[in-house]
Symmetry: C2
DNA sequence: TTGTTCGGTTCATTATTTACACCGATGTTT
DNA sequence: AAACATCGGTGTAAATAATGAACCGAACAA
């Protein structure tokens, strides 16, 4: 189908753990012919998006992504703004805090500050969060442009854990509840043993562009603890929205 | 020709200053048909590489680049390693220091620490440095895989300032000199009134993968000052090479 | 009104992508 | 050592996907 998108989807196979992938393996993972994958990789290498390890011949993300991130950050300094908010949030709640932004079909994790406790939730840098299976995703859907919800529900909702909502109606109900409450709660829908609470961050047009979230071990996610987290999380998200030049919706 | 590369080249029109570009303007800049540009942008938006400002309809770099940069940094923490080196370099030399890495055809600026002086060189974040027209580029070429030099000389060498070397032989001579000296010096070949000194940073195979550089106003670039800069720059680059797991060539 | 410009859509033509078979090299298993 | 896999990479003919001109409605200017 669309060659450009197919090529860029190759990048999704790189994760926190899998930092280098060989040609044949990438072809296998993507289901695309080796020759095609190689041409795509070479094209992306020309612009620095990926690079080849000269020794192992494996491919990895290139230095160009660092440059692009600097450019983006120079234009919209979200990282600079969100990091202090995350730090204070992690400190006051005693739990791991993270921020994510809408990026294509789903949410991109763009900042994490882990809790100081020894029993804490670890969140991988650069993780992609599915909209339907995370507190952040539900929070965003509850306040994003309405098209996003319909588009998301139209796609197949993959099960990540046993409690991941897969039914469109189920997701819709959670979104409605989040909208009513002003926050979303997720009980191990993305990662076992982890609960999440999330509040939307708004753009200049008062639609959600991302979320601020706190993740706690399920064993610690009692109702009072969640309530306590929210007393810190809600104002933090308001501050984040303000600091990035966003607009909190009036109703 | 190659659609993927053409699409990614669109990103090169985003700079420090030009952070948002409309469809028609981008088509004009790139010389590609509007319909094609739009399809490419939509494809890139699906993966979060770019995003559209819903109000102005203009396009800008997307949140996905932040995610990719985090992934790359988790795998190869060059930024974490280079930043302290740059900071000490800027302090000891009293001039702006920057680091760049090979990224596709040319060098990508991936770190800058400006001098504390009031008369200092400003380097735009995310700037792309042509290999033939900067001290960093010449330094890299002097120690990179030989193919890079031949490939670079084969391309047309654009003039950026009046003193930019455009003749392949001229560039080659500068590269040879840099190799002999261990550093490269550039007198206003990229930016008027700015001189640069650069030393290569090496990868695990003892080929250059980037450069560490110091930029000074031309008015201050006396021979003794350059010599003084080098006494700090050379060890700094060695430390940078060591810290990123690189190998300094033996001869 | 008339004329630009904008973002976006359509569709027939065509040029580009695609996938198969194949290559030499490296490494494993028998 | 022989046989077999697997690797990264290449060349090709076939077919699919990219292309660009014309066109649309909406803003805005003269």
């Amino acid at each position: 189908m669309r060659t450009v998108e197919k090529a860029l989807r190759l990048l999704d196979f790189f994760t926190d753990k899998v930092t280098e992938i060989g040609l044949s393996e990438l072809a296998r993972l993507s289901g695309i012919d080796k020759a095609t994958v190689l041409r795509m990789l070479n094209d992306m290498a020309e612009t620095g998006l990926v690079e080849q390890n000269p020794q192992s011949k494996g491919w990895r993300l290139g230095a160009g992504v660092l440059r692009l991130a600097r450019l983006r950050e120079a234009a919209l300094p979200y990282n600079r703004v969100l990091t202090p908010v995350l730090e204070s949030l992690a400190e006051t709640t005693g739990e791991t805090a993270h921020a994510s932004l809408l990026s294509g079909r789903d949410l991109a994790n763009v900042g994490v500050v882990e809790s100081a406790r020894s029993n804490r939730v670890h969140i991988e840098p650069g993780l992609t969060l599915p909209l339907h299976a995370t507190a952040s995703g539900i929070a965003v859907l509850s306040r994003a442009r309405p098209e996003l919800l319909t588009r998301t529900l139209a796609r197949k909702l993959g099960a990540i854990t046993a409690t991941t909502p897969q039914d469109a109606g189920d997701v819709q109900a959670r979104v409605a509840q989040a909208r009513a409450q002003g926050y979303a709660f997720a009980d191990q829908t993305f990662e076992a043993e982890v609960c999440g609470v999330a509040v939307p961050i708004f753009g200049p047009d008062a639609f959600a562009i991302g979320a601020l979230a706190v993740a706690a071990p399920a064993s610690r996610a009692s109702q009072p603890h969640i309530t306590d987290i929210l007393t810190h999380l809600v104002p933090a998200a308001q501050k984040a929205t303000r600091d990035i030049g966003g607009q909190i919706p009036t109703l």
